[in-house]
């Protein structure tokens, strides 16, 4: 619909028709309310009742705002000196625990990532069981179903001993990294998988799923540290499901 509107615009009399329709709405609503029956009516009337209640509340609030009441200068009871304000009934243990919690929150804020939680992935979804052996009876091999990253200079283990197969078709080397502030996207080579939130096994295999933290080569961006050194790698978090899209979209963690 949006596409069509962008291409062809609207009808010539769109504004007129819209105006007339909104004018008729009040009448239509009232005639509906009187004529509808059955369970549709129950739903409609419940909705109207709640709307009416809301409207009454807002009107009352407006009335109060308009009337400027003289503050009777009510000085509150229970005067306390400055060092006792903010301490209503706070016990010592609670003060310490709130202080500890505040500090934890401050520290945790340092490690906040764009996707703090990810959906758990079951093993059946992640691996496909490969049956091997003369009579296809052994089923100790697994093939990874998701996109993976293997480093440069990766050589497979001897095939007879290989437990996890990472198919070449699902190996990815580049990621589309978006800079959160500049809002621009670059295609940067991946240097390694830092952490997969599902399990450390997946981290060691190099599986790339949504929420995985990867290290990308950012020398292309030309960032420099305060000491004058060139920054050439940064972390990014994957934001899509690469096995569905065929590409890795991620957000740079600055």
């Amino acid at each position: 619909m949006d596409e069509h509107r962008r291409r062809h615009g609207r009808r010539m009399d769109h504004e007129e028709r819209k105006r007339k329709r909104t004018a008729r709405e009040a009448h239509k609503a009232s005639s509906d309310a009187q004529k509808i029956f059955g369970h549709k009516a129950k739903l409609l009337h419940a909705k109207r009742h709640s709307e009416k209640v809301q409207m009454k509340k807002t009107l009352k609030a407006h009335d109060e705002r308009n009337v400027k009441q003289k503050d009777d200068g009510a000085v509150k009871e229970g005067a306390l000196p400055t060092y006792l304000l903010d301490r209503e009934g706070q016990k010592d243990a609670k003060a310490l625990s709130t202080a500890v919690k505040d500090r934890r929150k401050d520290r945790a804020a340092k490690y906040s990532v764009p996707l703090p939680k990810v959906r758990g992935i079951a093993e059946e979804e992640m691996f496909k069981v490969i049956k091997t052996g003369k009579h296809k009876g052994k089923s100790w091999k697994r093939m990874v179903n998701k996109a993976t990253f293997v480093g440069e200079g990766f050589t497979r283990k001897p095939v007879k001993l290989e437990r996890f197969i990472r198919p070449m078709g699902l190996r990815m080397t580049k990621a589309n990294v978006t800079h959160p502030e500049l809002k621009t996207t670059f295609q940067l080579p991946i240097l390694g998988v830092k952490k997969n939130p599902q399990s450390p096994l997946y981290t060691s295999l190099g599986v790339l799923t949504k929420g995985t933290i990867v290290e990308v080569n950012v020398s292309e961006l030309g960032m420099v540290t305060t000491g004058g050194k060139v920054v050439w790698s940064k972390y990014a978090q994957i934001t899509n499901n690469p096995e569905n899209d065929g590409c890795i979209n991620s957000v740079l963690l600055v």
């Binding site: 000085v75 005067a79 306390l80 000196p81 400055t82 060092y83 903010d86 010592d92 500090r103």
Partner: protein
């Protein structure tokens, strides 16, 4: 024959009595000890080690020290104490030093349980005391009512003639201390009056309220000094006036710093009543603000940091974050001198502004010459930190200004109030654990713990000669402490509810509390 009683004795005549052999008092073996006098300011030796009999009295010791220092014309009174070398288990855990009140023999050698023997060289630390003596407070001389709500803050004027109290009924009252009568009532605030401060020339009184307003008053007439200073969005937690010697000669009155719960500190020009600048940067309520003598402003806040600002342009100089919880209270070693400005115990009234400034500067320089301005901060994390001089441009190689000089631990609960003694030698800290602790002002070493209150101690105040300490507490009593024995000297009961504030004026203690009365 019945036994006969012997004839009754004759009364002995005086002559007979005088023939009785006189009772020989056993000459006690008074050992001779070697004493080395040490000055407690810098630890240097005052003269060579001297051989003395152990029962030399305190006056004699004092005379000796004065002679050694060559001050026979202007003798200074001294207090002496010994520091035990090895902490023995039997010494009372409350004090780490032994005061010499009578003589070394009586206080150190005879007292069992101390590790002194006559063969040691005794290092006697001498502390000069104030030349004047404040009369001891004995009883409640006057109970002044008038406030209709608990009294939240009190401050005595620099000369000691007046005291101002602020209360929850949104008024502040000025009381005449000499006659014990009310002088004027200052109303105008719309919320509780939370803090009250005098300027060092006694010309202006500033009050800060729960409504976020700062109001200025002229104390002699009781009239407001213009419109209230608006700008803070939350209540005022603390006020501080600029020290007199920093006020430039063209502007007539000192500036005022007001700290508020909204996290900002505003500097006002009191003559034009305009805002000069705002010190922002704290992430939480600023609990206390102090104007130092070197042109720096210290602020302590609930975001666990202490920030040091320049008073000239309002730029942040440094942030000190060592505390683990809210910074509740702060004190400077020059607090007393800055507050009383040109007035000292002689009682001379300066003729005009310039003379007042010169006097204030001279007094300030006198205190600074022995030891630079140090800051102590107390916090909810049960500790206090002693910070080195922040403003000096030439730092000694050992002290980096960002690191505290000492960490004072020992309180079991939050530290509520801390105060330097007027001569800067001792620090008293009051905490919610019912104890008042005394620490050394130069190094921060623990001296003694004063126990006696049965509920949280809210405030402490020193007498002007640094010899007496009064503490106000939640248990409705005030206690005057003997700093020689570290025990209670006098108990001052009489308030019927918690005592929220106390201040020591000349020889009077003024206190106010939840029972809505001011006692003197």
């Amino acid at each position: 024959m019945a036994t006969l009683l012997p004839p009754p004795k004759r009364q002995k005549s005086n002559y007979a009595k005088s023939l009785e052999k006189p009772v020989i008092v056993e000459a006690e073996n008074i050992p001779s000890i070697v004493v080395q006098f040490k000055s407690s300011e810098d630890g240097s030796n005052l003269g060579p080690a001297i051989n003395l009999p152990a029962d030399t009295g305190r006056d004699a010791l004092q005379m000796l020290v004065n002679k050694l220092r060559g001050e026979t014309e202007d003798p200074l009174p001294y207090a002496f104490h010994l520091v035990p070398k090895t902490p023995s288990t039997s010494t009372s855990p409350q004090s780490a030093r032994v005061q010499i009140n009578n003589s070394i023999q009586l206080d150190a050698l005879k007292v069992s349980g101390t590790t002194f023997s006559p063969e040691d060289v005794f290092e006697l630390w001498c502390e000069p005391q104030a030349v004047f003596r404040v009369r001891s407070v004995g009883r409640c001389s006057a109970t002044l009512s008038g406030h209709s709500s608990p009294i939240l803050c009190c401050a005595h004027s620099p000369t000691g003639k007046y005291a101002a109290t602020g209360s929850g009924d949104a008024t502040a009252r000025i009381w005449d201390m000499e006659t014990g009568t009310p002088k004027s009532t200052l109303s105008g605030h719309k919320g509780w009056v939370l803090c009250v401060e005098w300027d060092s020339r006694e010309n202006i009184l500033a009050t800060g309220g729960h409504d976020g307003q700062v109001r200025l008053w002229v104390p002699s007439t009781g009239q407001p000094h213009g419109q209230p200073l608006l700008g803070h969005t939350k209540w005022i937690t603390s006020l501080a006036f600029e020290p007199l010697h920093l006020v430039p000669s063209n502007s007539p009155s000192p500036r005022l710093a007001s700290a508020s719960k909204d996290g900002t500190v505003r500097i006002w020009n009191t003559s034009t009543r305009k805002l000069e600048f705002v010190l922002t940067g704290h992430a939480a309520s600023v609990n206390v603000v102090r104007w130092g003598g070197e042109g720096v402003i210290y602020t302590g806040s609930s975001d666990r940091t202490v920030k040091v600002w320049s008073a000239v342009d309002g730029k942040l100089i440094r942030t000190l974050n060592e505390h683990a919880h809210w910074v509740n209270t702060m004190a400077l070693s020059t607090d007393f001198v800055l507050r009383t400005g040109p007035f000292d115990h002689v009682g001379k009234v300066p003729k005009d502004d310039d003379e007042a400034k010169a006097l204030a500067l001279a007094r300030y320089k006198n205190v600074i010459s022995t030891h630079p301005e140090t800051l102590i901060t107390g916090s909810d994390d049960h500790t206090l930190y002693l910070w080195p001089d922040q403003a000096s441009s030439s730092f000694s190689s050992t002290a980096t200004p960002k690191k505290p000089m000492a960490r004072l631990t020992g309180h079991q609960k939050q530290v509520n109030h801390v105060a330097f003694s007027p001569d800067g030698r001792m620090i008293a800290s009051a905490g919610f654990d019912n104890a008042v602790k005394i620490w050394e002002g130069r190094t921060g070493k623990f001296i003694a713990s004063l126990r006696g209150h049965v509920a949280a101690v809210y405030r402490v105040a020193w007498s002007a000669d640094s010899r007496m300490l009064v503490s106000a507490s939640k248990d409705t009593t005030l206690k005057l402490w003997n700093l020689k024995t570290y025990k209670i000297r006098i108990d001052l009961p009489g308030h019927t509810d918690e005592v929220y504030c106390v201040d020591f004026v000349a020889d009077k203690v003024v206190s106010g509390g939840r029972d809505k009365t001011v006692k003197m």
